[in-house]
Symmetry: C2
Subunit: 109 residues, 2 copies
Amino acid sequence: MGYQVKYKVWIEADEHTFLGNGRIRLLKTVQELGSLNKAAKQLNMSYKKAWDLIKSVNHAAKEPLTITTTGGNGGGGMQLTPYGIRMIAQYEALKAATTTFMDQQNFKN
Amino acid sequence: MGYQVKYKVWIEADEHTFLGNGRIRLLKTVQELGSLNKAAKQLNMSYKKAWDLIKSVNHAAKEPLTITTTGGNGGGGMQLTPYGIRMIAQYEALKAATTTFMDQQNFKN
């Protein structure tokens, strides 16, 4: 078996982590379920950890990626802002381009 | 200030780390100084840590990257094998190609 080229890509804002694979997974699950609590449960993550991650994302961001919705049947929820949806799409495009590039690299024995 | 795309590249062999920036720096310093002890000192690294890193490199490698030389004036030393020199060159080519690619990526606000 040969050598494997490994890589990791993430986004920072002023030396703070903004987006990485874990944050994107959480944001997409929030988008799907409309609730941070449900998203945390689905990802087997504590609510506190999920909340801290979302806080850290929005702290590093130029605009909020999530919005908290209150009231209604079943209490409050969380949704993505249009900016959040755009950031996810941009991250996924970067990941796809990087994967295409890295898959072309090899490291010979 | 905008967002920054960050990345890390390394080489694995059968799920073990083979080469990364730190290991390459150590190997190049060994090559330059002809001694693991001197290389460790120059990099402010304990001899044990340097030795463990070299052992880990050679453990993951298909062929040894270093060779221990004995005797002579000043005692034993360490040099790179032709295979080791080729691995460093290959790693640096990969890093350069990756840097060129990643520098073309951007992440808009």
